[in-house]
Amino acid sequence: MDSVERPTWAPGDIDLARPSIARVYDYWLGGAHNFAVDRAVADKVLTDVPIIKSIVLNHRAFLRRAVRFMLSRGIRQFLDLGSGIPTVGNVHEIAQATDPSARVVYVDVDAVAVAHGRAILTGNELVNVLQTDVRDAKQVLSSPEVQGLLDFDEPIGVLMIALLHFVPDAEDPCGIVADYRDVLPGGSYLAISHAGFEEGEWDPAWDEAKSVYNRGVSEMCFRSKREVEVMFDGFELVEPGVARLPLWRPESPEDVDPDAAHFISFGGVGRKA
């Protein structure tokens, strides 16, 4: 994510020798938009922390629930920050199933993910894909992809799914959220899903996987529920507030495993007044 220091017109790094978060996620989600280097890391983590697959699936499922929730509240335009490789169950698929005129802008820093998205979405005039570092809210919001498609007089659904745990405190994740919040019209919604746990829940067996992941893919910043709640500053959290991911408005009781109360991720949706 070094493009912040880079002039905007400079090309991003396309280094296939390095795993990419987007492609590793794709692999865990059952996709084949990935390379050996991605799968090697993904498999290594999976071996050490089998639960990772469940975590990834849950974030994806949370995305689906959050989008459907926002749709039910009348949201028809979405900004998906850190969208990754568009595998299946993407925002525009979910949204346009409800309202074919729903509009979506995907933003990711991964040049390959964005190129893939653009290739698939060619001709879909209600979807734009933008390659930018989402930490630079000003650049995202002023881009033609966003300005040309989203109407800032109408509420917008902003999605930060499995995104902010890649932003260390030093880079002020709350500040980044605030940068987006400040320009959102009232009635807009923000969904955040975030890897995390409360004190005492960390399994030392995961240390190895974490370091593999940190080294090979990206630094992970686990946060507590409270820390995630703080990110919603300026938003009113909808029920049930920030919750363990499986416990946030589950679609059926069977979806809630017995250990859901210790699931190592949180999620929540807030509404800007």
Binding site: G30, L57, A115
Partner: protein, 719 residues
């Protein structure tokens, strides 16, 4: 992102199924869903998954019972699982196992040979369909991601090409000169602006090393910093630097040199940004010239002169230097009477003549302002060098200057200072030249004066004295001594002359000749004289009390200025009254010039004093020009013959006949006018004897007594 597909297969003839079978299918689908959920991400709720799988289960039910039996539905189910993104391979294993274990039982189908074989065939077809669909999907996705990589790379390369093109354009089109060289200084590339600036083509420039661009006038720091930069010790520096153009002209530039390092941080390239500041430089030179030159005469101005003078002292390349500080005489009159325009033209001509008469290395003519000019001569041999310059200048100014129909004759006064540089400063030199110019003016103008340290010291002392005199009077630093006036006939002390002294805290005891003249100049003589008068009268009163009729009168000198003071008579009367001193105990001494040269009023005052009973004496008689005819009309009682006439009467063995004749004539004259005569400066017994013989009444001088304290006079009187 896959196309939007409805993964839920509509069960054909669903309503045809027996409700019991339907319930079984529903139950199986739920089990199936539980088994596969979590094996991969499917964008469906659990209920949607179950519903989807139930539809597939119903397809299976139909397929099991179909006639003729076909495996195609199994194949299709496998494909549809992949299509719904049940791509985790666990899905297939669990599905095949579940079909074999549970399906027939759940549906209430008798597991006979036929059904088992049909089920096995469908399982195989499902696995084959799944495998094929997954393979296709995988290949498609692999294809897609590779295409995305290529796209992204294309875009990145396009961006890179665009950025390179932009950089190239920036380099080529920049108005500032840019050059790139390797770390050894070999020039690799230069842009058009730099080629234009220096007049060399790229090819020519590439032949050069940076060091070939060294200019003889470069500051030492330019190349010192260059060495530091190429050594990697600094990353950039700025400097003013001159370059020689291909056509031999010079270019002044502002240079910024930056070091480019490789990935390891080692110096790799150097990039020079060079801005042509020649115009600015020339402008600065012009502005500097304007700042340092007098616009009227074009001569260097005060600032440049002082700068040069400062340099003379800083460099000390020469041992001596001289200054002529010159000021036109009467320039103000010309300016006021003929106008500033004529005055200005006169200054221009004077400047021209000065510049003309004083030329050569080490000499500088500057206009200091107004009609003041200064000539600096560096490295003079001796004072005569500067005197020659001053003479030349005065001669040069002698011929009349013709301006606008006027023929003007000007002269100048010049103060000259010439000395060794060690032990003096520029400020000293300037100040002394300025003082000396003042002397030249005071000495009569149209001349030069040479600085003289004794004269200066004296003037400084005079200045100090005159400045401190008023305070001294208040602090009682003055006192009065008395010198007896002795009657020659019987050596009786008949009077005493009051002589003021100054006990100066710094200079010690000062005689009147050191400060009376100053007091006259400053006007302080009036209060000082009044003080002396009062002090003398008080003393005379004391003597009167002690010695009665034999008490001496006091003779007090009256300065010219005092004699013209309208308050004189009143002051004298008040003092006499306050001291209760009879007027005839006071004698006032005035010089010839004070009495003779005066208008009526002072004479009136003297008459008034005389009528009051105060004695009037003419001091130093014979040294001035007395109108003898006038003398008899003056209210005078005594003549004091100047001590200079006593010289010829001094020796014991022989006398100067002329002096004797003069003195006796003066005595006769005085007596003819019924005036008393006092001889001053009597120092020998011979003088006293001769004066007595000549008929002189009174004597004064060291032969009788030196000036002394009043107590000493007391003792003298008591004897």
């Amino acid at each position: 992102m896959t196309e939007q597909v409805d993964h839920r297969v509509a069960a054909p003839g669903r309503s045809n199924l027996d409700p019991a079978v339907l319930a079984g299918a529903e139950s199986f689908a739920r089990t199936w869903a539980t088994a596969v959920i979590g094996s991969s991400y499917v964008p469906m709720t659990r209920a949607e998954v179950a519903e989807h799988l139930q539809a597939l289960t119903e397809v299976l039910v139909h397929a099991l019972h179909a006639s003729p039996f076909r495996t195609a539905p199994g194949y299709e189910i496998g494909a549809r699982l992949v299509e719904a993104h049940f791509t985790g391979t666990d899905t297939l294993g669990r599905t095949v196992q579940l079909l074999g274990d549970d399906l027939l039982g759940e549906l209430g189908i008798q597991p006979d040979e036929l059904m088992r074989s049909r089920l096995a065939a469908l399982q195989g077809a499902l696995a084959a369909g799944y495998a094929r669909a997954l393979r296709e999907r995988t290949l498609a996705e692999q294809e897609a991601i590779r295409a995305a990589v290529l796209d992204a790379r294309d875009q990145a390369e396009a961006a890179l090409r665009a950025s390179e093109a932009r950089f190239r354009a920036m380099f080529t089109e920049a108005a500032i000169g840019i050059g790139i060289a390797d770390i050894e200084g070999r020039i690799l590339d230069v842009n058009q602006a730099l080629q234009d600036m220096l007049g060399f083509s790229v090819e020519e420039m590439r032949q050069y090393n940076i060091r070939d661009l060294m200019h003889p006038e470069d500051g030492g720091s330019v190349w010192r910093l260059y060495d530091q930069l190429t050594a990697g010790e600094c990353d950039h520096y700025r400097a003013e630097k001159r370059f020689r153009r291909a056509d031999g002209e010079q270019v002044w530039t502002h240079l910024t040199l930056s070091l480019v390092r490789d990935d390891h941080g080692d110096p790799q390239y150097q990039v020079a940004m060079i801005e042509d500041v020649t115009d600015r430089h020339l402008l600065q030179n012009r502005l500097r010239y304007q700042a340092l030159h007098d616009p009227l005469t074009g001569l260097p101005n005060r600032a440049l002169f002082l700068e040069r003078l400062g340099r003379v002292f800083n460099n000390r390349a020469r041992h001596r230097a001289g200054l002529c500080y010159l000021d036109l005489d009467g320039f103000k009159v010309i300016n006021d009477s003929l106008g500033h325009d004529i005055g200005d033209q006169l200054l221009v001509e004077v400047g021209r003549r000065l510049d003309h008469s004083v030329s050569g290395e080490g000499k500088l003519v500057a206009r200091m302002g107004g009609d003041e000019f200064v000539i600096l001569v560096e490295g003079s041999q001796d004072t005569q060098d500067i005197v020659d310059v001053a003479d030349r200048v005065l001669r040069e100014l002698e011929s009349p200057i013709r301006i606008g129909g006027h023929e003007l004759t000007v002269s100048a006064s010049i103060g000259i200072v010439e000395r060794a540089l060690s032990g003096t400063t520029a400020a000293d030199l300037m100040r002394d030249a300025d003082i000396t110019l003042y002397w030249a003016k005071a000495d009569g103008k149209s001349r030069w004066a040479l600085y003289n340290p004794e004269r200066n010291a004296k003037e400084v002392a005079r200045f100090t004295l005159s400045a401190t005199m008023p305070a001294a009077l208040e602090r009682d630093e003055f006192y009065v001594d008395y010198q007896p006036l002795v009657r020659l006939e019987d050596s009786t002390v008949v009077g005493v002359e009051a002589l003021v002294r100054w006990q100066h805290p710094e200079f010690g005891r000062l005689a009147p000749d050191r400060f009376i003249e100053l007091a006259e100049e400053t006007g302080l003589i009036v209060p000082l004289g009044r003080w002396v008068l009062r002090r003398a009268c008080e003393q005379a009163r004391r003597w009167l009390e002690e010695f009665g009729d034999s008490a001496p009168f006091v003779s007090v000198n009256l300065a010219v200025r005092q004699s013209r003071d309208p308050e004189l008579v009143r002051d004298v009367k008040r003092i006499l009254d306050e001291c209760s001193l009879p007027p005839h105990h006071l004698q006032l001494e005035l010089t010839e010039s004070a009495i003779m040269g005066t208008a009526d009023e002072p004479l009136e005052a003297l008459r008034a004093l005389s009528e009051m009973g105060v004695r009037i004496a003419i001091d130093d008689f014979g040294t001035g020009y007395s109108n003898l005819a006038y003398l008899k009309h003056l209210p005078v009682h005594e003549l004091k013959i100047a001590g200079s006439f006593m010289e010829g009467l001094r020796a014991a063995d022989e006398e100067d006949a002329v002096d004797v004749q003069i003195v006796s004539t003066l005595v006769q004259l005085a007596h003819a006018l019924q005036l008393g005569v006092t001889a001053e400066g009597v120092e020998t017994p011979s003088q006293a004897k001769r004066l007595h013989r000549i008929g002189c009444d009174t004597g004064q001088g060291w032969f009788f007594a030196k000036p002394m304290k009043p107590e000493e006079i007391d003792e003298l009187l008591r004897r």
